[in-house]
């Protein structure tokens, strides 16, 4: 969690370099849009603690905390965000499209559209008769999307070992959830699909860990999918440069005050964990983040000619370059 938090804070600094005083999205060392997940850490960490490398995860456009928790290579992920040649996608994907097949991590920048591939990853585990599972992360703004609802039904009827995790930060860009749905608790959507639906309030890492453990265990034991909604907070704008003029100050203040990391640290101290140990943990996390950012910034930008590569992994002709000769009787060949 502290790695993810520091990562987002440092990326924010790097991103804004060259983009001030007048915000220019096309300037600075980090290209493009940047959706930072500060305030979402309890979700990524609480869920992914239960996952192995062979379990598949899809994350949405705000993916960094999930990627870090899933064990995605931090240096290559950072290089990708900086658009460098040695990035996970050789600079072709960017921060919303991170793929690390070593830990079965994938993203989609399109709302809710990571849900069907996650269901497919779970389907693959079922077909291969392994005990792997899949997890799809999505925001609360995604629960009105067809891709999400179709996936719930598909996963339920096929008994697919998949967990859908709604990260409820109350805001879909500028849209508060009470203006787009009449249910307060997104996990109620599960009821229509005969699937367990569980909500965890209060942005509580331990409670998320416990609820996720149950849901993932259920999937691993081949008892079907679960819909889990976890309350998180958006400590930054939807994307960097978002002035958040639509957001009441008290809402932002509440998000800042309800810091899952500080609360977890206080809990740990109350349970006798040494403060120095926590400081060391923070220091290690900071070092890891700094190393990744420094490494990424030293990496070369891609050769422009590389834009023409990787559309396909096989040649255009497929697996063959030549056609066998047959004598087709009466045929036109």
């Amino acid at each position: 969690m502290v790695t993810a938090r520091h990562y987002e804070e440092r990326l924010q600094e790097e991103y804004l370099e060259g983009k001030q005083p007048a915000f220019d999205i096309s300037a600075g060392p980090i290209p493009g849009e940047l959706h930072l997940a500060a305030g979402h850490e309890a979700s990524g960490a609480g869920v992914c603690q239960h996952l192995r490398d062979d379990d598949a995860v899809t994350a949405p456009h705000r993916p960094h905390h999930v990627a870090i928790a899933k064990g995605v290579d931090l240096k290559r992920m950072t290089a990708e965000i900086f658009g460098r040649e040695t990035g996970l996608g050789k600079g072709k994907g960017g921060h919303m499209h991170l793929f690390d097949p070593d830990v079965n991590f994938a993203c989609s920048g399109i709302i809710a559209q990571g849900c069907p591939p996650a269901a497919g990853a779970g389907l693959a585990a079922k077909k291969r008769n392994t005990d792997s599972v899949a997890v799809a992360f999505l925001g609360e703004g995604a629960i009105d999307q067809g891709g999400f609802l179709e996936s719930l039904n598909f996963a339920a009827v096929q008994d697919i070992p998949v967990v859908f995790v709604i990260e409820d930060n109350d805001w879909a860009i500028s849209m508060p959830k009470d203006r787009v749905t009449d249910i307060e608790n997104g996990s109620q959507r599960a009821g229509g699909f005969d699937m367990p639906g569980v909500r965890v309030d209060h942005d509580d890492a331990v409670a998320i860990y416990e609820a996720a453990g149950e849901a993932i265990g259920r999937a691993r034991d081949r008892n079907g999918p679960t819909l889990l909604e976890v309350q998180v907070h958006r400590r930054m704008g939807h994307f960097m440069g978002d002035p958040e003029t639509y957001r009441p100050e008290r809402d932002q203040d509440a998000a800042q005050a309800r810091d899952s990391i500080e609360r977890l640290a206080a809990d740990l101290r109350a349970h006798g964990v040494d403060g120095d140990e926590l400081d060391d943990l923070r220091a290690d996390a900071h070092e890891r983040v700094e190393e990744a950012i420094e490494w990424a910034k030293d990496q070369p930008e891609p050769d422009p000619e590389a834009a023409y590569e990787d559309v396909f992994v096989n040649p255009g002709s497929g697996v063959t370059d030549s056609e066998p000769t047959f004598d087709l009787a009466g045929g036109d060949d």
Binding site: R128, S151, F154, G316, D327
Partner: protein
């Protein structure tokens, strides 16, 4: 290359040839499975999976909810883990309800991952009109699918092609859109013209994508086409021969990649180009083929004609549909205009 050729007598319909390739791949590789609406017990509305459920069972020939986004996307997810799913879009016209999974996931994940991820799946889709199914069930949409990078797009015109292209599609590590024309499948209730039922080798074989096939040689004009219209062009060529016009008919077989070399070679011989397509005229296959030839061999072109669906939705009533879907007369007239 000297090669002992084997005489093939056995004839199959296009649907039987397609199913034979799928069944062979499923026997050879447990990771191949088929998902679609009405593909198990029904065997595919257009016979694309006839008999597969009986051999492979419901786990590998999966009937799915009417949720194209969910199951096409699930195929993407399973493919990214190395399985080889085949997902069927019952009518290509239904692409609209699942286009994100096709255009943004299936087609782009390989590129966005810098080639670290591949999507070895086949998306099959029934295409085409000529049986009065109106604007939402009669399109080919060849150009729509060929337009976005990241998908190979193949269109068999005969049983022989249907089998060889399907073997290549399933074995390919890239996503392949396999567009089969309903009128060519050899379905009892939708009789095929003469032509798509061909001798088909019993052995498995692969036809490379991007290898257009000269279906008929000629000297005066090059007719480039695909799918159903290969057969209409061949009939037109036969009629034109009576009048002394010698037409060469080129079957594209795949749109992505496009075999420009074979087309240009033919045009350099004939000097005249007619492109025939069952997709819409604007921003489609006909324009693309003409532009590709112009890029490479503008000097060789004495004349160009395009025969395609004028830019209207496919109408329902017989005289209306017959008016807009190119027929043999339309092709002959276009060829004559080049002479």
């Amino acid at each position: 290359m000297s090669q002992q050729t084997q005489r093939v007598e056995r004839e199959l319909t296009m649907s039987r040839a397609m199913v034979e390739a799928i069944a062979t791949e499923m026997r050879d590789d447990d990771e191949v499975f088929y998902m679609g609406e009405d593909v198990a017990d029904y065997g595919g509305i257009f016979d694309s999976t006839e008999g597969l459920r009986e051999e492979f069972g419901y786990d590998r020939v999966m009937d799915v909810p009417i949720s194209e986004t969910a199951y096409i996307g699930a195929a993407v997810g399973a493919a990214q883990l190395g399985m080889r799913p085949i997902a069927e879009l019952m009518f290509v016209d239904f692409f609209g309800v699942a286009m994100d999974q096709i255009y943004n996931q299936l087609a782009k994940n390989t590129y966005m991952s810098g080639g670290n991820v591949s999507v070895p799946m086949v998306l099959t889709a029934a295409v085409g009109g000529t049986y009065n199914d109106a604007a939402q069930h009669s399109q080919t949409l060849y150009g729509t699918f060929a337009h976005v990078p990241g998908m190979k797009v193949v269109v068999p015109s005969t049983a022989y092609e249907a089998k060889g292209l399907m073997h290549n599609a399933i074995r390919d590590d890239d996503p392949v859109v396999y567009m089969f024309h309903k009128r060519l499948m050899g379905i009892g209730w939708l009789p095929a013209p003469d032509g798509p039922k061909t001798p088909v080798p019993e052995t498995d074989y692969t036809i490379p994508f991007g290898s257009a096939d000269v279906k008929r040689e000629g000297d005066d004009v090059t007719v480039v086409t695909l799918g159903l219209h290969v057969h209409r062009a061949l009939e037109a060529a036969e009629n034109l021969a009576d009048g002394g016009v010698s037409a060469e008919v080129v079957d594209l077989r795949s749109l992505v990649p496009l075999d420009t070399d074979t087309i240009v070679e033919s045009v350099e011989k004939t000097g005249n180009l007619v492109v025939v397509d069952e997709d819409y005229r604007s921003f489609g296959v006909t324009g693309e083929v003409v532009a590709s030839v112009a890029d490479e061999a503008l000097g060789a072109l004495d004349s160009v004609e395009r025969v395609a669906v004028p830019d209207v939705p496919i109408p329902y009533s017989r005289p209306l549909e017959n008016e807009v879907v190119p027929d043999v007369d339309d092709i002959e007239a276009a060829v004559e205009r080049t002479q």
